[in-house]
C-alpha cells in the first residue's frame, strides 16, 4: 500500500485503457471498447490514447503483442504489473465509494 500512495490515482483514460487490454486490442478497438464500457460517456481522443499507450509501454504496464496476420495494426495487452496496478486502483476506488456512500449517500438516495 505504501508504494501505492507514491503513484496516486490513475487517470480515467489510463484505468479504462488497462481494463480494455485484458484482451489484446489495437488502438481503435480500445477507443470503441471504452466508449461502450462507459455508455458513451468517455470518448477518448486518438492523440490522447497514443500518448497514454506510449507511456504505459515505457512503464511496462502493457506490452505490444505481435500478430502474424496480414493486419499491420499493432495490438497491445496488459502485463502482470499492469494488472497489479488495476487491482490497487480498484481497492482505492472501493474505499472512495464506500466513504462517499456512507457520508453523502451518493447514488443511492
Amino acid at each position: 500500500m505504501k508504494e501505492y500512495h507514491e503513484q496516486g490515482a490513475l487517470t480515467e483514460a489510463v484505468y479504462y485503457i488497462l481494463l480494455s487490454l485484458y484482451e489484446p486490442m489495437h488502438g481503435y478497438g480500445i477507443m470503441q471498447n471504452i466508449k461502450e464500457m462507459s455508455d458513451g460517456r468517455v470518448l477518448l481522443g486518438a492523440g490522447t490514447l497514443y500518448g497514454a499507450i506510449n507511456t504505459l509501454l515505457k512503464k511496462e504496464w502493457i506490452k505490444s503483442v505481435s500478430n502474424d496476420e496480414a493486419s499491420r495494426k499493432k495490438e497491445y495487452q496488459i502485463t502482470a504489473v499492469g494488472k497489479d496496478i488495476v487491482n490497487q486502483e480498484i481497492e482505492r476506488l472501493e474505499e472512495l465509494i464506500k466513504n462517499g456512500r456512507t457520508i453523502a449517500g451518493g447514488g443511492l438516495s
Binding site: M31, G45, A46, G47
Partner: protein, 183 residues
C-alpha cells in the same frame, strides 16, 4: 470543382472552426500551402477537421507512426504543412477530437507556444542586429534602412506577444488550474 481560399490564421482553433464551417457548407479541404486553402465539393457536413502540431517533422519515423495510428482509428490524413497536420474524419463516425484530457491538451498547447517563442526569438535577434546595422549606416552617412527593418521585427515581436503568446499562456494556466482539482 476546386475552390481556392486565401486566408491567414494564427490560431489553430479558429482555423479548425473555419474549416468545419466550410465543410458544413459542402466544401471539404483537400490541400493547404502557405495561406492557401483548396476545397472540393462534398456533401454538406461530411467531415470534421482537426489540426495538430506534431512534435517531430512529418517525415520523422515517430510522426509517421503517429499518423498511421491516427489512420487506424478512422481519421484521414489530409495534408501537412511544416509540422502542422490536417486530419479529418467522417462526421457519421461520431465526434472527432484528438486530445480529450487536460494533460494532453496542455502538452499540445505547450508545443505551439514553443513554436511561437522560437519565432519570437528569431525576430527579436534579427531586430537587435538591424538596430546595430542601422546605427552603423547612419554613422557612415547612408540611409538607415536596417533601422526600419528592425522596427518591423520588433513590431512582429510585440504582436506575437500580445496576440499569440499571452493568450496561449492563459489557456495553459487555466488548464493547469483545472488539473489541480480534476483530470
Amino acid at each position: 470543382m476546386k475552390h481556392v481560399v486565401r486566408k491567414a490564421y494564427f490560431n489553430f482553433e479558429k482555423e479548425e472552426e473555419f474549416l468545419n464551417e466550410m465543410s458544413a457548407n459542402g466544401l471539404a479541404l483537400i490541400d493547404y500551402s502557405w495561406c492557401k486553402y483548396v476545397f472540393e465539393d462534398a456533401p454538406k457536413g461530411e467531415y470534421i477537421y482537426r489540426l495538430e502540431l506534431l512534435e517531430h517533422p512529418v517525415k520523422h519515423q515517430q510522426s509517421q507512426d503517429y499518423i498511421r495510428f491516427m489512420e487506424e482509428t478512422g481519421a484521414e490524413f489530409v495534408v501537412s504543412y511544416q509540422r502542422w497536420v490536417y486530419f479529418r474524419k467522417k462526421a457519421a463516425d461520431g465526434e472527432f477530437h484528438i486530445y480529450t484530457d487536460n494533460d494532453s491538451k496542455v502538452k499540445h498547447y505547450k508545443r505551439i507556444r514553443l513554436l511561437f517563442l522560437f519565432v519570437f526569438a528569431v525576430n527579436f535577434f534579427a531586430g537587435l542586429l538591424n538596430v546595430f546595422l542601422g546605427n552603423l549606416s547612419v554613422t557612415s552617412g547612408r540611409p538607415p534602412i536596417n533601422t526600419y527593418v528592425a522596427m518591423v521585427s520588433f513590431s512582429v515581436v510585440a504582436l506575437l506577444l500580445v496576440f499569440l503568446i499571452i493568450p496561449i499562456n492563459k489557456k495553459i494556466t487555466a488548464l493547469d488550474k483545472e488539473r489541480d482539482i480534476r483530470e
